[in-house]
Amino acid sequence: MNQVFDKAEGISMAVDSGSRRSAESGEVDMQANIPSATVGKVFVDHAKMAIRNVDVFYGEKQAIHNVSLDIRKNEVIAMIGPSGCGKSTFLRTLNRMNDTIPTCLVKGTIELDGNDIYDKKLDVVSLRARVGMVFQKPNPFPKSIYDNVAYGAKIHGLCSSRIELDEVVETSLKKAGLWSEVKDRLNQPGTGLSGGQQQRLCIARAIAVSPEVILMDEPCSALDPIATAKIEELIAELSENYTIAIVTHSMQQAARVSNRTAYFHLGYLVEVNDTEMVFTNPEHSLTEAYITGRFG
């Protein structure tokens, strides 16, 4: 009976032993733990973009190692990982932005709706109209707000009349959530807008050419929380019509905006899973270590 109703001294011992166990455990070994194949939901049915065995080299240095991934139509996929893990490099391979870097070599295949985007016969300009990009720093052209949005539609010959062009500009600005703020000053320079407005202008510019996929490379890192919230709201709305791949340093942002999250580490794609799963119960220990702030 005494044993039955022993007081709880045992528990405080358990606390100590628990702490000791934690203290004894080693840190996550960054290099050794990289899986031989990406874990999680890598492939999907009816992929908009299919990436297979992609390696990217900058001269001698290999930046991306054997990455395979499907991007589903109308999904928002977030790429996260520590600085230098290759997530931006990977994003830039999706519309051949890396072509502008002479030492860059891309191996493997990347298909958009079943067509190889690295096909030599493919017109890169029309590819980039189908796969648009929004950059970290808002980069409006030194032109009016109107011309910023109209530019792509003009050079791609998407509009035959001024009325049509007006419509494209208005629709794009509305989709980007900027119309009500700029409709009375369309002729003023785009560079005169606030940072958040400039970024939404860049998004309007990207969607004016009716892309199918929008790539976003840390689109909110130069913005304040209010402007960030507006862009995130916009991403949710845009995902109804577009497929979006976003690179972000903010894990909370990835958690808020994306359907799936891909974790990159030292150039390897470690894990891709539904975002809820990645942030509540990630499959791989490296993902867990990164998102819980255990890298040191």
Partner: protein
Amino acid sequence: MEKNLNLNQHISQKFNEDLERLRTDVLNMGGLVQNQLSDAIHSLVEKDSVLAESVLKNEDTVDHKEIAIDDICAKILARRQPTASDLRLVLAVSKMLPDLERIGDESAKIAKFAIELREHSDMKGYIEVRHIGFLVHRMLQRALDAFARFDVELAVKVVGEDKEVDTEYTTAVRELMTYMMEDSRSITRVMKVLWVLRSLERVGDHARNIAEHLLFLVKGKDVRHISYQEMKEKILD
């Protein structure tokens, strides 16, 4: 230990301390609740009303600890936006707290009956109280041990033990009902003993809940409202 959650491996030392403090505080509260339960049962079967009074007095301390730990959880959520196992730890703790507090409440109820029953010389039903008290106290101890060590196997065992408690409780109720039918003068007293047994049975449920929250914390799988067999398959696969 099933899985090391590396609570002390964050870049932020303060975050390590916050999580470790959360864990330690829960275990301290668990220890207090465990004492409350054992004292309450003791006070009843040993007719020790002084001990029963102390259980009632300590009830406030349990309540205050619940509020304080809840506050730590809210602060960690607000300031750290925890993810993965850190998030599951905070969620699991905030779900365990009401269970611990309710065990404190049940202990206080038992202590009240201990005071009311101290004058009665009839001991009918006390063997059952001791027996079921032993079982649920051990369940609580094991649930807290499992939490201290993130021990999945022990937590699974605790969930299984609840079935045994339920069976013992049903048997005890049936027996005491028969006793009351035979001796109607005992009804008032035996009803009180039945309430005590009911409280103990509830303690078993709460201990099982704590074990289930621990399984969610370590494995990231929700095992509530499924059969024991399904739970074992889900957890131990």
